[in-house]
Assembly symmetry: C2
């Protein structure tokens, strides 16, 4: 039976089953970590068959990355990178949103697990980087490039490094839990980075 | 028998035994990770008794942190934070040394394990932060403060944030393996950060 000939009920059931599997994977990741996570345990928690999981995802890492994707999509504080023409204001919006994510347990827990597992398993790390980090870096670089074209950033600024100057400090503070992450802190980073790269 | 009345031979044997235990702990951390590491496995690998280990270290995390300490002390590229009066040059020396560490498997492997385990186990994370990260932050802040007194840094610069602007980008690049970490990159970070905080 192909997708087109499937009855609406079967398609809804299938959608519910996918979500149950991804939710189970997310919960188990937080409870036991990636290394000890098994397809069996996900199937049991989701009330689904192992075969159902393997039909949709070839590997454990594929399920987990999709679970992170679903989790990210359902975050309420998800923001697109704004381009109002005011680079300073746009960077503040995004850096404050990142600060909010750091303080949001729905982001904090899974993100820590993902980073920890990436250190043990470079292949998983590469997939996670491709799925989550690189899109954020690309969106930030595009906004910086538009600011550069508008003369708000030095023409010779290395945008890869500017992105790291923005993400690096807040990431370091979050990962090592060295100090609270506030909107004022997010603003401070923007102030320093713009001071470094203004023409 | 107290330390003072112990024969030299016994003391040497004891020192060799400590080092064998810490080396075994370090090797096993890299092989199986902190979660699966057991005192039994360390004892077996080191050819020591479990009781010997428990006599010297009350917990698994205590052994592991000492193992990291021994590993850090035997790094050839270990540097003290220089204070030649030239802040720019001193920061370059330290940031290049950090770049070298990132490219050194003897640092890279254990540091990734330590960070990964800190995400699963906040108590271990707190001990590791206290033992390794905070001393580096303190030393860097002291050097920045001396530069601030010499008028090479804005008087209102927030030194905690300046440290994060230095450490954050290189740490982000290393942890997420997004690009090579070269001396030129270390220099770039110093250039941007000093541009941000010069009076």
């Amino acid at each position: 039976m192909t997708e087109a000939t499937r009855k609406p009920d079967a398609s809804r059931r299938s959608q519910r089953s996918r979500e149950a599997i991804l939710t189970a994977a997310m919960e188990l990741m937080a409870e036991v970590g990636y290394a000890k996570l098994t397809i069996e345990a996900i199937a049991a928690r989701a009330g689904a068959g192992k075969q159902t999981i393997y039909r949709w995802w070839p590997t454990k890492s594929a399920v987990v990355l999709d679970a992170f994707r679903l989790n990210a999509e359902t975050q309420e504080d998800e923001v697109d990178f704004p381009d109002t023409g005011d680079l300073d204001a746009d960077l503040r919006i995004v850096m404050r949103a990142i600060a909010d994510e750091c303080n949001n347990p729905r982001y904090d827990g899974p993100a820590r697990v993902m980073i920890a597992e990436a250190q043990h398993d470079p292949e998983f790390g590469a997939e996670a980087r491709e799925a989550f980090l690189l899109p954020a870096i690309t969106a930030t670089k595009e906004r910086l490039r538009s600011g550069q074209r508008a003369g708000q950033l030095r023409a010779d600024a290395d945008l890869d490094v500017v992105v790291e100057l923005l993400f690096g400090p807040i990431h370091h503070r979050w990962l090592h839990s060295t100090a609270p992450i506030t909107h004022a802190y997010a603003d401070q980073i923007v102030d320093y980075v713009l001071a470094a790269v203004r023409p």
